[in-house]
Every structure is written in structure tokens, then in C-alpha cells.
């Protein structure tokens, strides 16, 4: 993406992640240090009243972050915020979307604000998010 592509209302290209597997959950838990057994121990999850283990909220948050940093650059992110809505289950496919909500200047750099969603394919919104990126490193042309 170039800075010129980004104006208020610009819709970023969608990206699909998954279907998520239990291995994805475990790999994220190992990387993040969150070892809550409800995400990998089937017996524990059932005893807690769930049908199976379910994903770590911060995994889908991380995937949503990847969605925007892959488009706008790892070094350019200034803010990333998520609100957790629906649980994500093994086999779920997740669709990330983003829309530019603001183009402005702050701290002496051009910035954009994004509104983000991570939706369960065939389900509801798993995560609603917001992000801010600096755009001066993106350049005006390809």
C-alpha cells in the first residue's frame, strides 16, 4: 500500500486466516506465555462447561495485528486496540477487514486510523479493533 491509497473510507483488502487448529492455539500459548489450560486441555475445558477447548483471545488479536502490519509495515504501527466479543473455536476461519477512519498529522508525522474487525466465517464478530499507523515511510508510489 502507498500513502496515496489511504483516504477516509478506504477499505483494505480482506484476509482470511485458518481454519484454526488446536496446534495453532498451543503454538501461540508457547510463544506468548499464557498457559491457561482452557485453550489446550480438552478435559479441563469440558469440566468448565465448554464443548471443547477454544482459542486464546490474544491469538486472534495477534492475527488481526498481522493483517494490518503486513499491509502497512511493522515499524509504522503506533497504536493497536482490540475488544474481545465472541469466542473462536477449532476449525473456525477468520476474516480480517479494515477501513480507514481518519487521515491526519500527529507528533510531526502523517497518520491514519483504522477500524478493524475479525469475523468468524459463518458467525459473528470475534474481535473489534482500532489501529493507528504512521504513513510517511509508505511513500506515495509503488
Amino acid at each position: 500500500m502507498t500513502a496515496r491509497d489511504l483516504s477516509v473510507g478506504t477499505r483494505l483488502p480482506d484476509r482470511t486466516f485458518g481454519p484454526l487448529t488446536r496446534t495453532d492455539f498451543v503454538r501461540y500459548q508457547g510463544a506468548s506465555g499464557d498457559f491457561n489450560p482452557i485453550h489446550h486441555d480438552e478435559e479441563f475445558a469440558r469440566a468448565a462447561g465448554f464443548d471443547s477447548v477454544f482459542s486464546v483471545g490474544m491469538l486472534q488479536a495477534g492475527l488481526l495485528a498481522t493483517y494490518c502490519t503486513d499491509l502497512l509495515g511493522p515499524a509504522n504501527v503506533r497504536r493497536f486496540k482490540v475488544q474481545f466479543r465472541e469466542q473462536v473455536w477449532p476449525g473456525d476461519r477468520l476474516v480480517a477487514t479494515g477501513t480507514v477512519t481518519q487521515v491526519y498529522e500527529a507528533d510531526e508525522e502523517p497518520r491514519v486510523d483504522l477500524e478493524l474487525t475479525m469475523t468468524r466465517d459463518g458467525g459473528g464478530i470475534a474481535i473489534a479493533g482500532e489501529a493507528t499507523f504512521a504513513t510517511d515511510e509508505l511513500g506515495d508510489d509503488e
Binding site: 501461540y28 506465555g33 499464557d34 502490519t69 486496540k81
Partner: protein, 151 residues
Amino acid sequence: MVNKGMVGRQGPRFEMMVERGKIREFARATGSSSPGYLDAPDAVVPPTFLTTVVFWQPPEAADLYRAVDIDLRRLLHGEQEFLFTGAPPSAGTVLHAQTVVEEIYEKEGRRGGVMTFVVMRTDFTDDNGTIVAQSRSTAIETGRPPTAEGA
């Protein structure tokens, strides 16, 4: 029950080393193959990477969470925010981290029962004491245990 008197209470200050291998591991676990994470010698951290601060917390950091006293059977992770004052910290950086109980407030739940929101903020400073990143986590103690249908 959440102890509302804990607002403003700070946890211990401790160091967190930003390591290239850890960045690569975390980026791969979150679906990125960006060279900016995987190949650059001065790779920056992914936006949600600071959650790995748990690997660096000293044992006494848990005291702050215990003192807030959220009922773990009724705990939901509501929101999470990461702020960076410039480019995110890069591999080789030493961060100094400290967590504070920023805010505790209540709301009426949609299906009855009072929900208590606990906002914990962790400040990450560089060697000069300048804040380079902040992480803000909102935990919710629901009126009753959460279910598969959500809060």
C-alpha cells in the same frame, strides 16, 4: 470480589530484553511472514508482542493481581491496547516495565448482575526513562461465571 482500593497501586519495576528469536517465534505464531519481523537484524516487535512480558515478571509481580482479587471463575479479558511513541521497540532493546492499577469501575451487565472492569497499565521505558510503549489490559469480573455464549 474486586478490591477497589487498589487503584494507583504499582507492581515492581523489572527489565524485559527484546530478543530477535522471540520476535520471530511470536510473529510466526501470529501468522506473519513479514521480513520486518523474521529477517531484519533490528526486527521490531509485533503490536501484541508485549504480552510476553509475563516471561520477565518477577514472582512478586503476581502480588498486584492477587491484591486486586478478581474472581478467576468469573474473569473475562475485555479489551487490550498497545501504544507506541515511535516505531515499536527493536531486537536488542532493554525495556524497563512497571504495571499500575489504572482504573476500576462497574457497569450493569446486559443479562443482569454487576460487571466490574479492572484496567491494568504497563509502562515500558528505555534506559533514559522515556516511555516507548504502553500496554493497557481491561479485565472484567462478570456477575456470574462466563459461558460459551459469552458475557
